[in-house]
Amino acid sequence: MTAADAALPATADAVIIGAGMVGAATAAALAATGRRVCVIDRSGPFGGTTGAGEGNILVSDHLPGPDLSLALRSLTLWREFAAEHGAQFEFEAKGGVVVAHDQDQLAGLLDQAGRQRAAGVEVTGLDQAGLAEAEPDLAPGLAGGAFYPQDCQVQPMRAAVAHLALARRHGGLSVARAEATGLEPVTRNAPPRLVTDRGRIAAPVVVNAAGPWSGEVARRLGSDLPVRPRRGHILVTEPLPRVIGHKVYECDYVAAVGRDDDVLACSAVVESTASGTVLIGSSRDFGGALPGTGARAAPPDAGVLSAMARRAIALFPFLHRVRAIRAYTGYRPACRDHLPVIGPDPLVAGLYHASGHEGAGIGLAPATAELLAGIIDGTATAVDPEPFSPARFAVPPARTAGRHDR
C-alpha cells in the first residue's frame, strides 16, 4: 500500500491540511516536538504550488520589516538543513543579481539595498562594469544593479520530500490522501475533529497549510481567510551550457509583488538550473482558474508568455534563438497586505493557519513552521508573531499597521 492510500488515523496530535512545502516543514517542526503528525492532501503530495514554482529562497525581494525578519530567519534554517541534506534537493547558494535599466531605477535600487543592509541583508551595489562582470551575458547598456549573495535555489518538490523525511525520523508521521470538508468544533471533553472525505480525525491542532486553497479550506472549517490565488507563469528553455550564474531579475519585481490591482504585472526573472534549463518568469495576475475548484482549467496565457519572453530577451539577448520547451502556471497564495498568515484562527479553537506566502513560500517555510510551533506551544519565538496574526484581518480597514507600501 502506498502512502497515498494510507488510511486516515482516528486521532493525531496535529493534522496538517496541505502536503506542500509549508505543510511539510510544519510537519517536521511539530514532529520535532514529539507530536504524532498527520498530513493530508486531496491530491498527491507537492501537487500544488510547491510543484509550480522556481524553488526560490530569497532575501533580496523582502523589504525591512516583519517580512524580511522572517526571510532572514528562514534562510538560516534552510542553510542548517541544507548543510546535511542539500544535495537531495539541489540546494544552490547561487546568489541573486537585481538589475536596473536606467539611473533612476538604479538610484531606487541602491536606496532599497541600503535599507536592507541596515536590516541585516548582505548586498553589494554594482555599477555597469560590476554588473557585466557578475553576468557577462547581460545586455549592454544596463545602468547597474545589486548583488545579494544570500539568495539560494532548491528543487522545491524534493525539498518538501526531505522535510517529510525529517518529520518521519522524528516520530510518527502519516500522510494520507483526503480532502478536508469541515470541522466539528471543540466540546468540553473532546478536541476538534476534522471531517474529511475519508473519515474523521480528532486532533487538538489543525493547521491550514493549503496554499492558494487556504481561503476555501478556512471557509469549510468555519472561518474566513482572505487568501487569493495569484497566478504566475514560467517558461522553461531547452538545456543549455551554464550561461547565467545567478538568479537575475529586474528591480521592478518588488513593485510587481506589491501591486494590489488585477492588472497583469510582468517583471523578468531569469535563472539557470542544475539540469541546464533556463527558467523565465515572472508574471502576476488574478486570472486563470485555480485547479480543483471545479472551474475549467486555464492553460498558460500566450500573451503573458510573450511578455515574459520579450523582457527576458531584453535582459539576455542570447536567449532570442533559444527554444522554450514548456510552460506552466502556478497559483500563489496572496494576502492583500502581502504578509503571510501564521497563527491561531481568531474564531475557531484549535485551528491554525500557515499560508499566504505569495511567491515566497519555499523560502519562508522553515521559519513559518518554527514560528507556528512556538505559537502553539507558547514558547519564545525567533520572530515576532504579531504582524502575521490571522486576527489582523478582523480589524477595521482604517488600521494600517502591518501593511507595507511598495
Binding site: 539541489e90 531547452e238 538545456p239 543549455l240 551550457p241 551554464r242 542544475a274 539540469s275 541546464g276 534549463t277
Partner: protein, 90 residues
C-alpha cells in the same frame, strides 16, 4: 553541387548522399548510427521514432544547435556535427 548527390561532412569526415534525404537518412545511409551524446550519461543516440516526436535524433549542423535530423533536409555543404547535449542533470 548540383545533380544527384549532396556533399556534406560529419564531424569533419566527408560524406555524400542522394539529394532529397534528411540529415538522419543521409547519416544512416552512410553507416552512421548515432550522432548525439546524452546530457547525463554521455550515451549515444540516433533515430528512434523517425517522425520528429522523440527528439532523440538531435544533431548540430552549421550554426544550428540540436535540430531534428529525421526532419531536416540535407543541403550541399552541410557541416554536421555530433550534438553533445549541454547542461547536466544532477
Amino acid at each position: 553541387m548540383t545533380g544527384d548527390r549532396v556533399r556534406f561532412s560529419f564531424d569533419g569526415r566527408p560524406m555524400d548522399a542522394p539529394r532529397g534525404m534528411t540529415i538522419g537518412g543521409a547519416l544512416l545511409a552512410g553507416g552512421v548510427r548515432s550522432w548525439r551524446l546524452t546530457r547525463s550519461g554521455g550515451r549515444p543516440r540516433g533515430v528512434f521514432c523517425g517522425i520528429g516526436a522523440c527528439f532523440d535524433c538531435l544533431v548540430d549542423v552549421g550554426g544550428d544547435h540540436a535540430v531534428r535530423a529525421c526532419l531536416i533536409p540535407l543541403r550541399d555543404g552541410d557541416e554536421v556535427r555530433t550534438c553533445a547535449s549541454p547542461g547536466r542533470r544532477e
